[in-house]
């Protein structure tokens, strides 16, 4: 039931049948790479109706090695975060 990147590429290739499937494949890969680059560089992504991607800050903390129980200092970091847009929220929620 899960849709993968290659299935997404196939369904777009079927819809854009006037374009070489190779171009659809590279376009999807370019888009995903471009989004990863932007986010890794700290740039937000805002797609109306779909949602926005941003980074959330995680302050430094003391973690623990689960095997030894030893405490390990962990540096601060950022983690990617996605907030679905209104249209996506509404379409997904069947209630």
């Amino acid at each position: 039931m899960t849709v993968t990147k290659s299935e997404l590429i196939e369904s777009l290739a079927a819809r854009f049948s006037h374009l070489p499937p190779r171009d659809i494949e590279s376009a999807v890969k370019v888009l995903i790479e471009y989004m990863s680059d932007a986010l890794s560089g700290g740039r937000r992504i805002e797609i109306r109706g779909f949602g926005s991607f941003s980074l959330h800050y995680r302050p430094p903390r003391l973690g623990r090695n689960p095997k030894t129980g030893e405490s390990v200092p962990l540096e601060s970091k950022y983690v990617p975060h996605f907030r679905p847009g209104k249209e996506l929220r509404d379409r997904v929620d069947k209630h």
Binding site: Y34, S40, G49
Partner: protein, 108 residues
């Protein structure tokens, strides 16, 4: 400035050599395909980027923050995103500065 669909269209013009009309439609259809898969109940896995999953939430107690009135938050289905290992690693490796309000603490 945030990355938008307009930037993505420009990227497809220069990197894939698509025409503007095709590039614009493809960017729209890329997001539409993800939205309609999720709307039909299928999660999405974009390897290297992350997974969009669906979660069914039960009804829970809630409150109108303005009036304090108790109103239940109804049961709903929501989209969650879990970044993949590759994206998480890239974000961590870019070693961005902490946000301004955190800088003093983390410098110590």
């Amino acid at each position: 400035m945030a990355l938008t669909k307009a930037d993505m269209v420009e990227k497809l013009l220069t990197e894939v050599g698509l025409g503007r009309k095709d590039a614009k439609e493809l960017v729209d259809e890329f997001f539409e395909a993800i939205k309609s898969a999720l709307a039909s109940g299928s999660p999405i896995k974009l390897s290297g980027f992350g997974n969009f999953d669906l979660r069914d939430k039960r009804q829970r107690p809630g409150r109108n923050p303005k009036t304090g009135e108790e109103i239940p938050v109804t049961a709903r289905r929501v989209v969650t995103f879990k970044a993949g290992q590759k994206l998480k690693a890239r974000v961590e490796q870019s070693r961005l500065e902490p946000p301004p309000h955190q800088r003093d603490e983390s410098a110590g």
